[in-house]
């Protein structure tokens, strides 16, 4: 193989690899990037079904109910204009309480309810954008 040929082959391979990566990344981003919704966004634009999203708002006063199994909670998230019922099975964060801010990660069901796989409660030692609020942020600030 001559030098020129080899260089050409390597460049072509590299370009193919980069293109493949870009395609893979973009297709996965389309499916998997979790957009941030407030209840009124959903009321306005319809349900984002079939993909992971984040739902943010306040936990409505008097809406938190614990199921009999002791690990499932039901509550309502509001942004002042619209509300969304949320179900979550797991250990809720310490700062989760009524009338406080919350970001729920999970999926919408066709009936408009939200099934959360993770809850992030805002904590107030430092400010942070809503999508980074919660425990994960503490790990982010650890070794700044």
């Amino acid at each position: 193989m001559t030098a020129k040929n080899q260089r050409l082959t390597l460049v072509l391979l590299a370009l193919a690899a980069v293109a493949a990566a870009a395609l893979l990344a973009l297709s996965a981003l389309g499916d998997q990037a979790a957009f941030f919704y407030a209840p009124s966004d959903v009321a306005r634009n319809g349900l984002p079904l079939g993909k992971a999203v984040r739902l943010g708002g306040m936990v409505e006063a008097g809406s938190v109910r614990r199921a009999a199994d002791g690990v499932t909670v039901h509550f309502v998230v509001t942004d002042g204009r619209a509300t969304t019922p949320v179900t979550f099975a797991g250990i809720v964060p310490d700062l989760f309480r009524e009338k406080s801010g919350v970001v729920a990660e999970g999926q919408f069901r066709p009936d408009g309810a939200f099934v959360a796989t993770n809850l992030l409660a805002k904590h107030d030692e430092k400010y942070m954008p809503p999508e980074l609020a919660g425990k994960m942020h503490e790990t982010k600030t650890l070794e700044q």
């Binding site: 460049v11 700062l95 406080s100 805002k122 107030d124 954008p129």
Partner: protein, 175 residues
């Protein structure tokens, strides 16, 4: 350029840099803003935290002319940083009330002894409930309240020396 290929990495990097710079310098609205700006305060009552200093409620913030409501905590370092600015505001005649977040009387008293005491009333918000109902997600935050108990503005973060004159002007405009 006869050989464009070697420049590709540089171009790629510059594009990345430009995009990141655009993201960084564009004042992206990512802060949790209070829904209350332009609306009346929610109904709340906070007990006094330190003896001799009255507590705080919706009623005490209504009908008394425009004033500032400062959300602070003794364990918060930016609150120490903004203390001199609050004292300047007090000296300029701006009445300031405070909500102390997750705090104790002993700590707050020590904080005020060291950093000055600009407050007329201090409410005890042990579990952040009122803070959160105000739509405040951190300390310090300061709300400008008009004479009718409506939130006019929300200042997020510590008040810096160059913010003081603007704040006084905002307050005077409401009088």
């Amino acid at each position: 350029m006869k050989r464009p290929l070697p420049w590709l990495p540089l171009i790629g990097f510059l594009v990345l840099l430009a995009v990141v710079a655009a993201g960084l310098f564009r004042p992206a609205d990512r802060v949790v803003h209070s829904q209350l700006v332009g609306k009346p305060l929610p109904d709340f009552t906070l007990q006094p935290l330190i003896p001799g200093r009255p507590g705080l409620s919706r009623a005490t913030l209504t009908g008394q002319g425009p004033r500032l409501l400062n959300v602070f905590a003794s364990w918060c370092i930016p609150c120490i940083a903004e203390a001199p600015q609050l004292l300047r505001l007090k000296a300029a005649g701006v009445p300031i009330d405070a909500i102390a977040i997750r705090d104790t009387a002993v700590d707050v008293r020590r904080f005020l002894e060291r950093n000055g005491d600009p407050y007329q009333r201090i409410g005890d918000d042990r579990d952040s409930a009122v803070q959160l109902s105000l739509g405040s997600s951190g300390v310090p935050e300061t709300f400008l309240i008009d004479g009718q108990g409506r939130v006019v503005r929300q200042y997020v973060g510590d008040i810096r020396p160059d913010d003081v004159d603007g704040l006084i002007a905002d307050w005077k405009a409401l009088k």
